[in-house]
Symmetry: D2
Subunit: 275 residues, 4 copies
Amino acid sequence: MKIPAAAPLTLRREGQETSLVRVGDVVFGGPTVVLIGGPCAVEDRQQILDTARYVAEAGGRMLRGGAWKPRTSPYSFQGLGEEGLPLLVAAREVTGLPVVTEVLDPRDVELVAGTADMLQIGSRNIQNFPLLKEAGASGTPVLLKRGMMTTVDEWLLSAEHVLNAGGRDVVLCERGIRTFDPALRNTLDVGGVALLKTLTHLPVIVDPSHAAGDRRLVCALARAAVAAGADGLLVETHPDPSSARSDGQQSLDPDEFRELAVSCRAVARALGRDL
Amino acid sequence: MKIPAAAPLTLRREGQETSLVRVGDVVFGGPTVVLIGGPCAVEDRQQILDTARYVAEAGGRMLRGGAWKPRTSPYSFQGLGEEGLPLLVAAREVTGLPVVTEVLDPRDVELVAGTADMLQIGSRNIQNFPLLKEAGASGTPVLLKRGMMTTVDEWLLSAEHVLNAGGRDVVLCERGIRTFDPALRNTLDVGGVALLKTLTHLPVIVDPSHAAGDRRLVCALARAAVAAGADGLLVETHPDPSSARSDGQQSLDPDEFRELAVSCRAVARALGRDL
Amino acid sequence: MKIPAAAPLTLRREGQETSLVRVGDVVFGGPTVVLIGGPCAVEDRQQILDTARYVAEAGGRMLRGGAWKPRTSPYSFQGLGEEGLPLLVAAREVTGLPVVTEVLDPRDVELVAGTADMLQIGSRNIQNFPLLKEAGASGTPVLLKRGMMTTVDEWLLSAEHVLNAGGRDVVLCERGIRTFDPALRNTLDVGGVALLKTLTHLPVIVDPSHAAGDRRLVCALARAAVAAGADGLLVETHPDPSSARSDGQQSLDPDEFRELAVSCRAVARALGRDL
Amino acid sequence: MKIPAAAPLTLRREGQETSLVRVGDVVFGGPTVVLIGGPCAVEDRQQILDTARYVAEAGGRMLRGGAWKPRTSPYSFQGLGEEGLPLLVAAREVTGLPVVTEVLDPRDVELVAGTADMLQIGSRNIQNFPLLKEAGASGTPVLLKRGMMTTVDEWLLSAEHVLNAGGRDVVLCERGIRTFDPALRNTLDVGGVALLKTLTHLPVIVDPSHAAGDRRLVCALARAAVAAGADGLLVETHPDPSSARSDGQQSLDPDEFRELAVSCRAVARALGRDL
């Protein structure tokens, strides 16, 4: 393996334990694999409340849901924006699940940090340095997704930007990288996950949904992630994927989400963890 | 070739000419290949004035220079920031060259648009949609660099974001993509340039410096770009590359810059253009 | 997922079960995950006999070992060649483990098929069509490793070449693909494994050693492979990796190999299989 | 740029000139850019004779044409095989153009070397070491195409295999590499061409046809190759591309081939060479 760049706040020192990142009463980096579920985008109150309920019942510990969606085309659904935030709050109140949501614009960090329990920095913003700095300065825990084209080394340095700006709690999220093969949406880099567990003290989780791009493969990738040592899973699920306004083809329905939890829990327990 | 996505403002309609993008008295998309030269980063007054002078003498038509630098590591030189802008203005006053400089943060767009003649959106921000929108809304011409791992299709859609936000003048800049081969810093995609000349009405220029990553290869790549049909060149040059605070290894010294201009002019003329 | 190309002998028909590929009394594609262990190259009698013994004791079901080694440089160790074959036979006689070994040259297929129990076609030969045809025509089971740069679609078509030439027993082996990230030797494509389990009736196994390129990560990748549904594992191991003539840095020592078997067996059992 | 691997027969020594590779009276590596034209596959006598005539008239110096075609699918047209060779000989007799044709199987090297003037090793066989050795041992000049995902370093080592086996005359041929962008068939690596001109004493030519995969872009890529310093061009052309049995979409018709020659000659002359 290549020697990583200088990132003193991010790299694991000799003998250092994995840092525990706490979001409400959820702990990343400990013996429990943290399952996060929720839709790609917050669409309406009913959708997000329904989802939060079955995610919690299945053993999910956090709720995800996008208010602002970064979309390749300006003509695609861009999310509810600011109006999505109170819907996430409502879902948290009903289920007790902490919420993580993506922030795209440094001007929105203060607002989102005042509402959500964890800020997601998405793949497209992995080297959006003003955003990384604002997120770090907010003091709110940050979920830092790998870019589609980001080396492990660059990813660690982006985490270093967050920590250097004052952030203390960063969780890394592998979500598949871009390769030459168009067979799947992305290529899940489980080797990168295993490597990061040796290089950094930060917890590392996996988003199998964007990696697969197809709901039929999400569960197998989630299991592989747990087996490779991931500290959590970020999974797209929707009460009715066929009506989802984005990413429906890779979103699990409630039954599939429950099956994923059962299957990944079995793998976690075989390795001395839980989920 | 693959059918491009729906980008009605960006795609070339049947029979449509290349749009002319004017920046001061410089015209992109016409018979003249526009040579832009300058340092990676604005370092001090003397450096940028000296550079502007020899760039102009060699046939350069615009000056580049970064005030804010997006750096992979938070511990690298981050540019002079806002203090760099008046130095660019001074260089413009002395030489008459319009200036292009990168903007990283949507909160800086108004300031930079009020100073520079053209806004550069860098590779790392190719899908920073809030920034694209602010840049488009500013009405200032935009130089949109391709991301290191952005498909031609995604790139066109990012241009569409700028145009859809009110921008009228966008120039695309190929700067090398990321591939499996570590032999060079990036892989210059001249095929992408030739393809874009058929797909879009926007002018397309090339940055051979970031593609090569090594000054010994910059001139060959610049010639290849002109031969493939590029409407301009964005070249890093520094009065003393060995002392440059960033990208010195790929910056041409004044003599090398002059040689590049002579060599690329010969190719341009062989193809019925000029430089 | 992309619709695969026409490969009627390889693609899984609606409702078709995974084909069982028998090599001696070993069965690929059934409930047992087949563990194959052995050195990169057969070096001498003692080395291969020692390895075969501890592989068998740990639960390995087959022995791997290269007689001819395809090496990027003509100046690297090229393997013992034909002299390596009787050493593999000796190891089989002592332990009862069937042996798989790589064949590089269509002129050697008859010889190797007369000695080994299974022919390995290596990554570099995934589109060496004369070799694929000879291997198919031999009637000996074929282990077909994915090329570093081969799409799932192309890989299926290479299997189709073997089957179309008369082969009946093909096992596919994912071994990591080449991507932009130099952090590890290759990127293990567990998504490709999960996808193949839906696309083809052929058994699919994984080589975590070449994917990782570093022994510290091999076990995590092996577990991920089993969790993703792999039907077997092909693992490099050597009695003394530090003295190995090739691939020592990714070869497990005997203790590490035993730990891998224990760890992967736990995952297999959690999913209703065994190893 | 990365330091290349040990390849003493291939790397350029300090001050060493480009080696001249002679094929009949054609010279690679001198002031003249060598234009090679011909169909993907030899289809019949009329086709290859017609092609050879207009290739020669346009300024082409050699004829290409495949007898054995390596095809991803076993159900595609595989070429005429041995029957194609006398048709190439006939075309050489009529026009005086030396011929280059691909050899796939080490068992065919002797036959092909006795007929053709130059052996082509195709992309899929860049690490088919038995084939490289036979080709080298034959003493016939070798055209060594880069693999779709071969690094410059690996490519040089494959050339070293040929030279180490007794070959003296190797010409390298860049033909586009595989990247993440599906917009074009491959990505022409002009930077690799420029780099190789500094690293090796062997002549380097370019196949713009496979890089583009679309006839509308072939001429632009050919010009870029010449501008980057290529010593020759290998171009697919067919009397009637719409009826070609393979690669028709990227084959130039006779008029397009003539235009390519004129356009590339202009670029070559602007740089002090000819074509």
